[in-house]
């Protein structure tokens, strides 16, 4: 259990915790937009933590470079996906702010 393993172990658990919280939020929160916040949580912080943890496991090798590119790609696309989702919802007439369930009780 050298130093890198401990760091990656810690990163794994915190990343896992964030993903779990995101999942729980997406399930329990009342309406669409709040659930979107929770779901985007897993996309952003969860991915970063788990990716860095894998990088530590992989050590300095070609796999680590590939992981960095994947992380960069994900950092670019997942916020955009969340934005597109929210924008489409807004355009299709789902009003934020009202806490009760939306039109068909999503």
């Amino acid at each position: 259990m050298d130093f890198f393993d401990i760091i990656s172990w810690i990163l794994f658990t915190t990343g896992g915790a964030f993903v779990f919280i995101g999942g729980l939020g997406a399930l329990r929160l009342p309406n669409f937009y709040t659930r979107l916040h929770a779901a985007s949580l897993t996309d952003s912080i969860g991915t970063i933590l788990i990716m860095t943890a894998i990088m530590f496991q992989a050590g300095w090798s070609l796999a680590a470079i590939k992981l960095i590119t994947i992380l960069g790609f994900l950092m670019l696309t997942s916020p955009t996906a969340t934005y597109a989702l929210a924008n489409a919802a807004l355009l299709s007439g789902m009003k934020p702010g009202k806490p009760e369930y939306d039109k068909e009780g999503y």
């Binding site: 790609f73 670019l76 696309t77 955009t80 934005y83 597109a84 924008n87 489409a88 355009l91």
Partner: protein, 329 residues
């Protein structure tokens, strides 16, 4: 530990399948199909099938969901409940299920190296591929050379689907950009008000195509090949069409080139086969293509993988554009 994770994924797979069948809203069903394909792809990866996992993710999750969504936009969104008697299908299904479970008892234990599957033909492939063809990825070697005739048949299957969809949904010949039906080019109904996705899309689009080409030509050394590369490039161009709208996409990749690509890849593959015949070997024999048989095999596999990638990309894009263009009329 991995086994436990695999069992978890399999149960998740069954739950998703049941959810797909039970849900009344078709959009939910299509999204769940995407998740179903992703879980299937993860499962394949755990079972050491890297190539198949990549293909299932690229084609299963990527293209199938896009096609289903495109078709749903043209048909109904909700499924009307029907009060048909349910017992007949259940009886038939139950009988087949019992037969299937009955068959599982004598099957070899999972992963047992002494299973007949691993004894007869597989070891020969694993030994002879480095000697005869000299490329690391045995799956691409078998796909391209040992069972190349199957892949030619496979190419023709996706070409048939492409001309089938083209025939049924009647896209006019390639002249001009006006889509069928109302003649006048409709205004670009692309997601003009989604500025951020367009900017990001334009940023990452070249990298998607680059990655597609990497997967296509890296097929000999790692998981990858014609099918996966073609599907990834097709997914990239579909993203571009969704973001920038139909007309600018056709200016980038004109309609007639798509059909030409779909047909051209199949002809290229056949031409390599016939070249082998002309040079004295049997059909699809690449060793005779150059004086050094191993080099000939590698050259043959490279060319036919390119043919596969061209056809798959052309066919998938044609199918998408035909369904997408249909929406206007």
């Amino acid at each position: 530990m991995v086994n436990l994770f695999a069992m978890f994924l399999l149960t998740l797979l069954i739950i998703t399948a049941v959810a797909i069948v039970r849900t009344k809203d078709l959009f939910v069903a299509v999204m769940l199909t995407g998740i179903f394909s992703l879980l299937m792809s993860a499962n394949f990866f755990i079972l050491d099938a890297a190539d198949v996992a990549l293909t299932e993710a690229a084609i299963g999750a990527g293209i199938t969901t896009v096609l289903l969504l495109g078709a749903l936009a043209l048909t109904a969104e909700r499924e009307r409940p029907v009060s048909a008697p349910r017992w007949l299908p259940l009886v038939v299904v139950a009988i087949t299920a019992v037969v299937m479970i009955y068959a599982t008892f004598d099957k070899p234990r999972l992963g047992d190296p002494l299973a007949p599957v691993h004894q007869h033909v597989a070891p020969w492939y694993l030994e002879m591929t480095p000697v005869l063809i000299g490329i690391p990825n045995v799956v691409t070697a078998i796909l391209g050379s040992f069972r190349g005739y199957d892949t030619l048949g496979e190419l023709i299957v996706i070409f048939t689907a492409c001309i089938g969809v083209l025939f049924l949904l009647g896209v006019p010949r390639g002249e001009g950009h006006q889509p069928p039906g109302n003649g006048a080019a409709p205004p670009d109904v692309a997601l003009s008000h989604h500025l951020i996705p367009r900017v990001v899309g334009r940023l990452i689009f070249p990298f998607i195509v680059l990655f597609g080409l990497y997967v296509q030509f890296h097929g000999e050394f790692g998981p990858g090949g014609g099918f996966q590369g073609g599907a990834i490039i097709a997914a990239g161009i579909v993203l571009y069409t969704l973001l920038e709208g139909e007309n600018s996409s056709f200016s980038a990749v004109p309609r007639w080139t798509l059909v030409a690509m779909a047909a051209g890849g199949a002809i290229l593959y056949g031409a390599v086969g016939i070249a082998g015949m002309v040079m004295g070997g049997n059909f699809l024999n690449y060793s005779v293509l150059s004086n050094d048989p191993v080099l000939g095999q590698q050259m043959g596999i490279l060319i036919i993988e390119a043919g596969v990638g061209i056809t798959v990309c052309g066919a998938l894009l044609t199918i998408f554009h035909v369904i997408n263009a249909r929406e206007h009329c």
